[in-house]
Symmetry: C2
Subunit: 498 residues, 2 copies
């Protein structure tokens, strides 16, 4: 790696070469501090015009020129300030040339915001930045740009990694009583009805009672025996949370397709009078006018449920006696902007998820993980009597970090529970269960009184459980397993429409 | 009322005055049809230049000139088409002058989109439109503009009507055990915690158990005895629903301050690559860039719960045997962009509402309304032992329609249930119960097999019930009424933070 920064210092007064050049010479010790002998940053060029001092700094792996530029600023301020009452007003990185190796020869152009140019000779990349601000230099932005170029070159080489998916369990065969698409039958019976919005349904009383029965089974089979208690997690999520959880950096990438929420610049009726007048006169929403009256989005609708939970523990140190924390949430729907993949009731934009979340020492977390994995199997195979399989997959956050760990028994990893849909022969993911290691506690600065803090989470949805159940068992309650029927109070009579 | 429209007809070919003027003369019968003799629309001027025919049409209350313009178009097409193969290509309202009386002399300027000018002489308004399109003329937009001007003048006169609020019931005195602000105590105990988003809380296990106890009490006291069953209503709402319910026309007016949702123009990762790169490099969300990649909002987050229910019955005719329909929904939070009024846990942007909704004949609806009103009283006074009062108020949709009806017993109207907050002496609205008459079935084209269809709805929230309860009874379960305590399983132990 070779870095070369041409840095312009604007001083508070005009100075002479005679005054300032010797100071630059004396600065060499400061610029090399912390690096092996001879490998620190070096001044390789300089020029002065009135109050404008240009210094060219070079370095390799040790002491980045942008760090060196600030060391030099302090040194200059110190030397010029006391005796000569001259300060440094501003630094601008006029030209920053960064040469480094990438993992492969790129197969196509690499683009990056803030870069003047990015070019390659074989596996050697030259990144040029121009006129970068003091703040930009200070925030170590350059290192993040280098990482991102390497990431992009690697992505060109390997593309999106195939999701790691290994079958680790095949359930025993259970009776199946239906061969049709359950979504169609749900719609025919008016147990659900499509709304004017894409991939959204309203749940009639009959399907709602079945969802409630799934809740009762969940509590009875999983939550009560394992000591999980209910919480209500927020369902709109401030950007700051997705920044910490890592979701923000994958906005509309790799499956993170959220709905965003948006609020007015002002709710003063006067500001909205013209829009309302137009609606009153035409009966239509003047979309373009509305956009001008809205703030940029402040965040999104809950996508997965667990990131907004972490507000609860953020910045806290949890007493040992309160660990492990075992909670669940089903207090509201989550949203995914589904593209081609949306289908019927089993893949919707408005999804009613069931979140199971636990926090404790790494050992506690893994123990609960294994207990839950068995309980989910019991719920699916013994209560709902579903034909299922389990697969080991790479959790999303690990994909993002480039980690791939097959040894779920020993640490982080995700197990998916899939049920077969007889009507089309495909497997539907109904539930997952993940040990997330220390990623969330680290991201949200949550600590244990003693030792490490880790967490796990598991997600299911009423739509998926019921789609799988009805696809395999059909709509005749006589064909439903007794162990599940006991959780159903009474299925309300169908509302009759003419 | 006096209306005068100068209308430009563009014909498909040049014609002569000799051909077209006699046809205009013959049209007089068509233009007067349906009006008392002499009071229909009249042609008071005409001119022709090649293929451009200008006709000036005047009328009073009967046969609006914009209707007359289309009658004339048809007449012209008929007379010119057959014999001369000339058609009418386009109509433009070049100048439309509308003179009408308003309820009062306006005290300030009245503005309206699409109006060239609006002027007054005393109580007489002259509205001028210029260059209005065929579509604009056809949609009866002019009548909606006249109504809106009258409404605005009336508003100048009377301002926002004071909410009609009449105490109709004062409950008996119940013991109170607390004088502090319960929100503060909830935060101190970490039963709730503020999130990074405005007026939003995460519910810890303890407050969630209390919310669940309120649910159990609701089911036991109200829903089970009265035969209400659960549904799951959508929680994002397409504009088309708010257009029908009438909410859209009051966007950010009169308390309708919704959150809107917004989705990307495309979820193609390529389109979002630059935004993601910026987030990865700077760690910040580039708000302005994001706005360019988003569609205008397609609707909002649920505000009240009941409008999106109506998808279920929209366009349907409900069989007599299925009436009345009695349902409830607590499947997710609703959102209000609260301004100055937001305070602690009792007034939040993310609110967990409880919606009770019933549909039937007007008699069924009113009978259920009265039953519910008594049950809500029992829940509040006998189970939660709250100090309450009831007030008769004007429901929102009636305010919009300008209706004010004191005789709730006989028809539409709303009763509010308010509980006193000892810490500041104010009354908090905890629950309401409304007979909404036929407004929703009409708006959503829902019909009964026989007779009229009407509906009612009632809203409460866990936040409000619990704020009132904790404000009056405090946090020592010993002071909580036995009839409520039986619905609490176990309050989970406080999580201990260091």
């Amino acid at each position: 790696m070779k870095l070369r920064l041409s840095c312009l210092y604007t001083l508070t007064k005009e100075v002479s070469e005679k005054l300032v050049y010797p100071i630059l010479k004396d600065a060499s010790e400061v610029l090399e501090r912390g690096a092996p002998p001879g490998e620190g940053a070096k001044i390789v060029g300089k020029s002065l015009s009135k109050d404008k001092l240009t210094v060219v700094i070079e370095s390799g792996t040790y002491v980045r020129p942008h760090d060196a530029a600030f060391r030099l600023k302090n040194f200059l301020s110190q030397k010029l300030g006391k005796e000569h009452h001259v300060g440094v007003k501003e630094i601008v990185g006029k030209l920053y040339e960064i040469i480094f190796d990438v993992p492969a020869t790129p197969s196509e152009e690499v683009k990056l915001p803030y870069a003047k140019s990015i070019s390659f000779k074989g596996k050697t990349c030259t990144l040029i930045l121009e006129d970068v601000s003091e703040e930009f230099l200070q925030k170590n932005t350059v290192d993040r740009m280098i990482s991102l170029i390497k990431e992009k070159v690697e992505f060109q080489q390997y593309g999106t990694r195939e999701e790691h998916h290994k079958i680790i369990y095949e359930g025993s065969t259970k009776p199946m009583h239906f061969t049709e698409d359950p979504s169609q039958e749900l719609i025919n019976r008016k147990w659900v009805k499509r709304t004017p919005h894409r991939n959204q349904f309203i749940f009639g009383p009959q399907i709602t009672e079945l969802a409630e029965a799934v809740k009762r089974a969940y509590v009875d089979v999983i939550y009560k025996p394992l000591g999980f208690v209910e919480m209500m997690f927020p369902k709109i999520v401030d950007w700051s949370i997705w920044k910490k959880s890592g979701h923000a950096r994958a906005l509309y990438h790799g499956g993170f397709n959220p709905y965003l929420f948006i609020t007015p610049k002002t709710a003063d009726p006067k500001a909205w009078e013209e829009v309302c007048d137009k609606i009153k006169i035409t009966g239509e929403i003047p979309s373009e006018d509305i956009m001008d009256l809205l703030e940029p989005p402040r965040g999104g609708l809950a996508f997965a449920q667990c990131p907004p939970f972490w507000t609860y523990l953020e910045g806290e140190t949890v007493a040992s006696e309160s660990l492990p924390i075992k909670v669940f949430d089903w207090s509201g729907p989550t949203y995914r902007y589904e593209s081609g993949g949306a289908h019927g009731f089993e893949r919707v934009d408005e999804l009613h998820r069931i979140e199971t979340l636990w926090v404790g020492s790494p050992d506690q977390v893994q123990e609960i993980n294994l207990e839950l994995r068995e309980k989910f199997r019991v719920l699916m195979e013994e209560v709902l009597e579903l034909n299922i399989r389990q697969a080991l997959v790479t959790p999303w956050f690990m994909e993002q970090k480039g980690v791939l760990d097959e040894s779920v028994e020993g640490g982080a990893g995700t197990v998916d529970y899939e049920a077969i849909l007889p009507y089309n022969g495909s497997w539907l993911e109904v539930q997952n269960c993940s040990n997330n290691g220390d990623s969330y506690p680290k991201a949200f600065n949550a600590k244990a009184q003693k030792g490490e803090l880790a967490s796990g989470c598991a997600g299911g949805s009423f739509e998926r459980y019921l789609s799988a159940f009805l696809a395999q068992k059909g709509f005749d309650p006589e064909n439903w397993p007794k162990k599940f029927r006991k959780y159903i109070t009474v299925i309300p009579e169908d509302v009759k429409f003419l």
